[in-house]
Symmetry: C2
Subunit: 424 residues, 2 copies
């Protein structure tokens, strides 16, 4: 894509009132636009990143049998009444008529969906009645809404945000826990593919379940969570439930029967995903039972599993940047290559077209009204993994300058060897 | 995909209270689930159709330079105040706190986005200032909300629905109209690829603009619109503005200078897309101006262009079904092939795997607890373009029975020649 054709522009100045690095860099780069507190537009560059994250999530959810669907944001009272969650504070209620005067205000029977356990459980109960229909799992990638009094930290805590939510349904706790393990592994793959180091962390039950749940936590000073983490075996507990303390030795029993003994450290962290054993809380609320092989009836056992797409994007920027800008991991970068053209007559175009023909995604800085310094600054800010520079000087040697965003080394590579150099 | 693994099931009975064919067949097939009046879930089969429609739309929008992005559903008052649209009735307002008593109800500054002209105009004004930045166009595929007092007709008129909305920005009316023509052509391609015959129709201005606009209308008795259509040249006008009458001769001036003279007929129709010249209404509201080559300042000229994804799906079912079920067009079918296995031991699996290996999408009816009649009925209801039947009898001849959903002819085709037979 030609930079001159993208309608957004970069800015040097940090946006007013934004203290978190992800908000600063993503807004400066034109990845997102803050429409209201906690409410963002994904601009074309940011949408490319979001789509790469969702593509990775889709692949891994499909690989464990998740069936993709799409539930509504308007969630009717009948759903949340069944579990007593109609009046939970994070739910945005909706008005039915124009507020001519305050006394005429009338609430509809709808809340903006902040989670979808009730909706999917009620639907599943209409289709599933036998043990033969179980287990199954279904997911969606959809916008959630939460009335956050303290929307902050850019994409890390919004009032409107995109989420992948997977729900699984089973004949037994044991079967659910087996699938729970598969989701855990799928999540580990997702975060690894996104370039994030996420720690599997034991956490409290929260609104959804009384049992312990698990979170995936990325270490970051701006995180709202605190975890106690063993440096050796990577066992982690959320401070909300942890009895561990900094400086203690890790009591985790290793496969060989010995205690791990690693050093426990306290860390701030960002929750990028969570998995919940739900038991029969929701199935009981909707009288959702299955018939076993002998005709007996039992409540369906459930699990639910979430990943915040914007939060993955925001957390990535928090942990992968320098003072010049973002450093995108290879798999979620908006473009593989940022091609800076310093020639007077746009001679970089040939290189651009050669790379495009090889299915390499290229952001081509074709602008003629910017200095070399401005172009380099934008390449650093936008953070594509590889920067190429074409100039009259490099073209004399049929070459292109290659620099990785994360490194300092600059190499001159022959154009005909460029593809190989990029793949390596 | 194995039918036994899809969590939804088909039903023989029409859903209570649904009179429109699209709602009946889509619910009976397990494509959608009605959560509330005008609020639907896209179940796995329906989501596949929706994703095929959006993929076609994306390709055609990208082909005319549209930059994909994603705007929020929470639209703040500041946007709609600028154009006086804050109190438009279709907007769902949002409450800020729990409705403990009516007198405590407090409206937030947010409405659920029912269109996004204001949001994109304000954002564009932050990035665009020179004629050099124009023209450009950007679009999103996103959920819209409208407080419809008469949500009805299944997917044809919902309170929550998925929409593609494209917006274009220009230095002049002339440039806008040139792009308007490109969008018209792109829309014609989209509907053709989706298998819909849509008539380009002159329509009234409506809420968005005072000028004439254009709609794409699909003829159907359940449509809410009425158009006057020339059978010969296909010129069409919405009855809201038309002075034509049934039985009149078409006054359209043809390229050769003659009047068309075709017969005008009155038809009911479904609006599946619309395109609006917006002039400078929105740019003026946000003081969005560009500087020309001589330093003069002018208002940016805009257009907006919408397609309802669910409505395309619903209209398709309305015009492409018989008394047994849906007949999906090739490009938006959930699966290319519906493979019915009538063998006792699941011997159709080999055929399934051969087709899958050739990247043919197959819905494989592997169920052992259903009769042949039930399986055929489901194949007709679900409506994949081709039905294959494997039985002990066909396998004796190394063959598969092939029948097109839209036809009656049943052919026996050798398994080794099956791929060729399907592509034809």
């Amino acid at each position: 894509m030609y930079i001159s054709q993208i309608f957004t522009k970069t800015t040097k100045e940090n946006p007013a009132g934004e203290v978190s690095v992800n908000a600063q860099l993503l807004e400066r780069g034109g990845f997102v636009y803050k429409n209201s507190a906690g409410v963002y537009t994904f601009l074309p560059l940011g949408w490319k990143v979001a789509q790469k994250i969702t593509a990775i999530i889709r692949e891994e959810m499909n690989a464990i049998g998740g069936q993709e669907m799409f539930m509504p944001a308007l969630v009717e009272k009948k759903y949340l009444d069944a579990t007593g969650r109609w009046d939970v504070g994070v739910g945005f209620k909706i008005l039915d008529k124009l507020p001519v005067t305050d006394s005429e205000l009338q609430v509809t029977n709808f809340v903006l969906g902040w989670t979808h356990e009730e909706v999917i459980t009620e639907m599943a109960s209409k289709f599933i009645s036998s043990y033969k229909d179980l287990p199954f799992s279904a997911y969606q990638i959809q916008t959630k809404f939460r009335n956050e009094p303290r929307a902050k930290s850019g994409l890390l805590r919004g009032r409107e945000f995109m989420m992948k939510d997977l729900y699984s349904f089973h004949t037994s706790e044991e079967d659910m826990l087996e699938y729970y393990g598969k989701v855990k592994d799928a999540y580990a793959k997702i975060f690894e593919r996104c370039g994030l180091k996420a720690y599997y962390t034991v956490a409290a039950g929260g609104d959804f379940t009384a049992e312990n749940t698990h979170e995936f936590q990325v270490l970051s000073e701006v995180g709202e969570d605190t975890i106690f983490l063993c440096e050796k075996c990577e066992y982690a507990e959320n401070s909300e439930i942890s009895k561990l303390k900094t400086g203690e030795k890790c009591p985790t029993r290793l496969p060989d029967g010995q205690e791990c003994g690693g050093d426990i450290k306290e860390e701030k962290s960002i929750e990028v995903g969570n998995i919940f054993p739900l038991g029969t809380k929701y199935s009981d609320a909707f009288n959702f039972k299955f018939t076993d092989e002998k005709g007996g009836k039992h409540s369906v056992v459930m699990g639910s599993y979430g990943i915040g797409i914007g939060r993955v994007m925001g957390a990535t920027v928090e942990v992968s940047h320098d003072d010049k800008g973002i450093i995108w991991p290879d798999n979620i970068t908006p473009f593989n290559v940022h091609l800076v053209d310093l020639t007077k007559n746009g001679e970089g175009k040939d290189v651009y077209e050669k790379l495009i023909a090889k299915n390499i995604e290229v952001l081509y800085d074709d602008r003629t009204d910017k200095t070399a310094g401005e172009k380099f600054a934008d390449a650093d800010l936008l953070g594509c993994p590889v920067r190429l520079v074409v100039s009259e000087k490099t073209l004399k040697e049929n070459s292109v300058e290659v620099k990785r965003r994360a490194g300092d080394e600059i190499k001159l590579v022959l154009i005909e060897e460029l593809e190989r150099a990029l793949v390596r």
